[in-house]
Amino acid sequence: MSTRLTRAGRLIDPTRPLEFRFNGKRLRGFAGDTLASALLANDQMLVGRSFKYHRPRGIVASGAEEPNALVNMGAEGRFEPNQRATTTELFDGLSATSQNHWPSLEYDIGAINTHLARFLPAGFYYKMFIHPRPFWKHVYEPFIRQSAGLGRAPKARDADRYEHFYAHVDLLIIGGGVAGLQAALTAGRAGRRVLVIEQTPHWGGRAPVDGGEIDGQPTEAWIGDALAALSEMANVTLRNRTMGAGIYDHGYALGYERVSDHAPDGGDAPRHRLWRIRARHILSATGAIERPLSFAGNDLPGVMLAAAMRDYLVDYGVSPGDRTVVVTNNDDAYRTAIALKEAGLEVPVIADARDHATGPLAERARGMGIRVETGMGIAAVKGGKRVTGVALCAQAGEGAAREYVACDAVAMSGGWSPVVHFWSHCGGKLTWDRAGAMFRPDADHPPTGQDGLPMVTAAGAANGAMMLDACMADAVAQARLATIAAGGKARKTAPPEVECAAEQAIEPVWIMPQGAPIEARSKMWLDFQNDVKVSDVQLAAREGYESVEHTKRYTTLGMATDQGKLSNINGLAVLSDALNAEIPATGTTTFRPPYTPISLASLGGEAHGELFQPIRKTPIHDWGDANGADWEPVGLWRRAYAYPRDGETVEQAVAREVTNTRENLGLLDASTLGKIIVQGPDAGRFLDMLYTNMMSTLKPGRCRYGLMCSENGFLIDDGVVARIDDQTFLCHTTTGGAERIHGHMEEWLQTEWWDWKVYTANVTEQFAQIAVVGPNARKLLEKLGGMDVSPEALPFMAWADGQIGGFDIRAYRISFSGELSYEIAVPASQGRAFWDALMTAGQEFGVMAYGTEALHIMRAEKGFIMIGDETDGTVIPQDLGLDWAISRKKDDYLGKRAQVRSFMANPERWKLVGLETLDGSVLPDGIYAVGQGRNANGQANVIGRVTSTYHSPTLNKGIAMGLIQRGPERMGEVVEFARTDGGRIPARIVSPVFLDPEGERQNV
């Protein structure tokens, strides 16, 4: 059984017991425990079920590489599936449940798959479930979906808070082990701004568990001194519980800080903090991960990585088993055997696959009375939900059992792989180190930054320097290079004095035993979570899925939540062997961020709810809120669609607003319309290129309606341009177009006409703009008093600065409704006061606010086009009868050349017309007019479509605008529109100007 030893672990505080629950069982641990160590201390080795076969799964590792120990935690708004027990710090009241089983962890119906495993090899689903066709969607797939997945889906909205941090540093060091700390000392002393992030709560990494001495003192003491020295340096920041998540181009890195996962009731601290880091250089000191060995039954609970077992023993005072068989191909696992023995636990045998084990560690183990068998491996592990023993065999043979050894745990070590993720995220290449049997960073092919220089340096075990002495020597050397790359100066220094046991060379072992038959190979697990076995990878190779990416995708090797930290190297070694190729020729799959999964909520940070795309508000917004505005999102703004009053429907409100504006007086909050100042000696010339119209001839004090096209000739925006003075224009854009058009202007100015003397500024939010519209508009302004707004002083399409009612204003005599209309701009700060003044003074003239729908209806009654309705990116001004707005005098404007292409000038193009149904009903939105017959693809031929359609309260009937093939030539013709149900609606082609074609209402 696994249990807590009386000897306290290095990281445990035995004076602070904690209570927690697992599957409802009440259990005890201590402060400093991880959930995994606490479960082991309570003899809870079985912690979950595997993905495919629902095999019993135990804890196999002690850190981020753990593939098995995934649990559901929390409740309601804090419920979260797939939490890794090995990286979850225990807290009082923690409640976890195991995953992927029914009805219970111990008795799982799904485990029947393990008996069917022979019929469910890699990729079985590509070969089965093909017939009959409807069965995939209705029978097979639902079943597969139910049995797949891991944790339960959360249901509630997240109750926690998340935030983003920004850091700009010279050197980012990922990993706070001895190599990372050594590098921090070097760079810190060189005066660089250094950020060191460490994923665990503890500094120093593995070194304190593995033993050895640095500078004459135990590693733990050296770590303490290093931390003390670093915390004295103002230019060095140390952050634990912060994982390097990913590295992106241009020195951008992500850190993932788990601020309060370990103390969820710690007040209002955020749960996670995403660090967005810009670093001149990055040093990856991320250590290495131990590899499992592939022998039959290596997935049974009780089989653990040797170093993980040592961690539980030394760090947490937990023994995973009473009697542990150690199996290895390298010296490091002997440290585990020695530690077990020192803790008073039994180690019946060390099975070493190598022919000789003569290093100091092996000799020491022998000296302690541990039996060491060389050239030996495990033929099979016995047991069900827990290891009960192993059959030993010759590594060189086919697995004939030599001996059965009873045990309740197996410690395995297949060697170590450097954590190369951060080297590889941005394209650093790896090299196969034959002696170390590992991929390590290839210093000749580092990831490079925008300057073409290396962006990342790897140091220590992450660079393949595994032994403590080599690790520290490499850390010193790489720290110097990284410090220089980060802009600092660093001299060559001697590495610290290091004492550590020498190690005999590793012997690569990818299958145990070497000649294992297929029956055994189909019980050797590579990927514990996804149930990928040696036989699966060999099957993929046999079937031609030879690329490592094919094998990965065909077998799902390395696609589990641990992303193959334990399985990838073993898998590709098996693949290489099956292909009779060298390991480096097979290569690795791509390393992608994040290093371990990070919460989606942390990516959002604070930007959710109210702060997700914060609503842009005009100065008059609050008046709308107080007066029943029915809001619609328009870009990031909210605009009032209408202002329904008591008992009114939205439609009734719209009709009232239109009628009142036409008969009395309406106010529109037009503040959202884009306002861009274009200024400079070349401003006129610039606008002549931007608009189809001639703008340079516009006189100061006058306005002109303008059209903008893309290079491809299509209409992209429209609006009124006012010439403020000789060198200054104010360009109005559509609400949604303000930022886009400003960007469009800047793109041309910066890339093509960079020598033109023009500046642009988006002043949309600097002004509130109110349209005062209707027959009583002038009366209202005159009542408020101030500037002369008579037709003589301020004719149609003129503007003037002045005062109205004591406000400094700019009045534009423009109209989008066909009524007498003034659009009046005031500084944003005065917007609400001016609106209120207009409302109060307007009472006697029947003033009412109107919303965007009334605006749309009134413009449609007048046949004015709306960008986004009449245009959709395929429409040119000529289609809309706007030829009058295209200057013939100009040599060029954006879109001019495109508009002479053959299809643009085709007389068959769909052109703007008005449409009226024969019975006065409203045509549906987006409906198409059908022609005769079908096209070559069997689609009904269409000859046009509706672009805008409304009920006109003024005319009391449906009116529509549309684009119809040769439309203007077909006035009076009736065309048929096709409903989605197959019905047809006849409508007559009419002029798009339904009201006041002479403009008598606006030109007063």
């Binding site: 997240d158 990913g246 690329s547 994040p594 989606l600 997700f612 999102p633 949604g736 987006g926 269409v942």
Partner: protein, 415 residues
């Protein structure tokens, strides 16, 4: 070719599956072929397959620089739909969708086409009108779609928040026979059939030059030596402009990174595919249980198959607003692919200035769903030397004529 079936799997289980043959051969290139297809992605393999099946042209090599299916075919979010607005788009995507329906049976390879339904939610009035227009167009194009209410949206997808604080759901365009398929399997299934027809799929072989004589292509130079052909078909999304340059002509293509990500797997919670264009994100749940999330494209050109992280942030932020339960899930993996963008966001299936050379590219962010239709139309173009009705509108000539097929229409602009 040994047929795949449950029976075959049971039979092979007796020998621990040691009797399975290769899904596709790994041949040495021959000196010459009738047709060389450059690019063994979904589109290239489908082109080869339909050349054989529809036109009896089986003397075909498909040459691939890396591993088959390793480009965008293996990097997309596997969505299949045909609810396009413009007639030529609806025609080719609907052809593709229809071929997907029985592709598993046709290829004897389970590509897991799952018509679970695709909805494009409308979150502004402008989008509502846009999707109503698409529904009208689809009805005339023979594409079955309908505009559905927010209540129906919630019924079909219980995890969606339809009354969100920022952009309430106002309705959706629903295509019940849209869905997803297993992307790798599409490439593998086609490859297996092509190989079975005697075609050579030549992987890990880079085309380094295009041999020409008198304005006609005679073959290609490769990293494994020259190979001759009578017709050449370039189907290399992400590298189209480079191959065209090799052949001596230019394409109106920009190459940008498009990103996607998946969460850790969870038990089934979402049966449909949801696309939310206002907030730029789309979401589905894979058969493995991962939530599959598609994001936006970078605003600059590159070839790195990595993208800018802020797009991931924006996409995730938008989707956690629309699907609040996502917040407590974790991002397992993010990746990027390089997509070909044309000026009108529609593909190119076209003849080229070189008489016997054809190009298929420009599928932008949506090529996976088109694979069977694209291959079908391309095979017709290559076999006959001129486009059939499906490909006709997608010629290179449309850019000089101004005959764009603009599908960004629904995106339009706010007013």
């Amino acid at each position: 070719m040994k047929r795949y079936s449950a029976f075959a799997v049971a039979r092979e289980a007796m020998t621990y599956h040691q009797g399975w043959e290769r899904a596709w051969r790994s041949p040495e290139p021959r000196d010459a072929y009738e047709v060389i297809v450059i690019g063994a992605g979904g589109h290239g393999l489908a082109t080869a397959y339909y050349l054989g099946r529809e036109h009896g042209i089986k003397n075909v090599a498909v040459i691939e620089k890396g591993w088959l299916g390793g480009g965008n075919t293996g990097r997309n979010t596997t969505i299949i739909r045909s609810n396009y607005l413009q007639d030529p788009s609806a025609a080719i995507y609907e052809k593709a969708r229809a071929l997907y329906e029985d592709l598993s049976q046709d290829l004897n390879y389970n590509i897991m086409f799952s018509p679970r339904g695709v909805m494009m939610v409308a979150q502004t009035h402008h989008e509502v009108r846009g999707y109503q227009r698409t529904a009208h167009a689809n009805a005339l194009q023979g594409v079955t779609t309908e505009f559905i209410t927010p209540e129906r949206v919630k019924e079909l997808c219980p995890i969606i928040e339809i009354n969100g604080p920022r952009y309430p759901v106002l309705g959706a365009l629903w295509q019940a026979r849209g869905g997803t398929a297993r992307h790798d399997a599409v490439a593998w299934g086609y490859a297996r059939k092509c190989s079975d027809m005697g075609m050579d799929i030549i992987q890990k072989t880079e085309v380094t030059g295009i041999r020409q004589k008198n304005g006609v292509v005679t073959g290609v130079e490769t990293s494994r030596g020259p190979i001759n052909c009578k017709k050449l078909c370039i189907v290399v999304a992400g590298h189209s402009s480079q191959l065209a340059e090799m052949a001596g002509f230019r394409l109106p293509i920009e190459s940008v990174a498009l990103q996607a990500l998946v969460s850790e797997p969870i038990k089934p919670c979402m049966d449909v595919v949801v696309m939310a264009n206002t907030v730029h994100g789309y979401l589905s749940q894979s058969d493995k249980g991962e939530m599959v999330i598609g994001g936006g494209t970078d605003g600059f050109n590159n070839y790195t198959q990595r993208g800018s992280f802020h797009h991931i942030e924006e996409t995730v932020r938008a989707l956690t607003e629309t699907f609040p339960m996502l917040a407590r899930l974790k991002m397992l993996r993010q990746w990027g692919g390089i997509v070909d963008m044309t000026g009108d966001r529609s593909p190119i299936l076209s003849t080229t200035p070189l008489g016997n050379t054809f190009v298929n590219c420009g599928w932008g962010t949506g090529g996976f769903k088109a694979i069977p239709g694209s291959g079908f139309a391309m095979a017709e173009l290559v076999a006959r030397g001129e486009p059939g009705p499906l490909a006709a509108a997608f010629s290179l000539g449309r850019f000089t004529e101004g005959r764009f097929i603009d599908e960004s229409v629904a995106a339009g602009v706010a007013h």
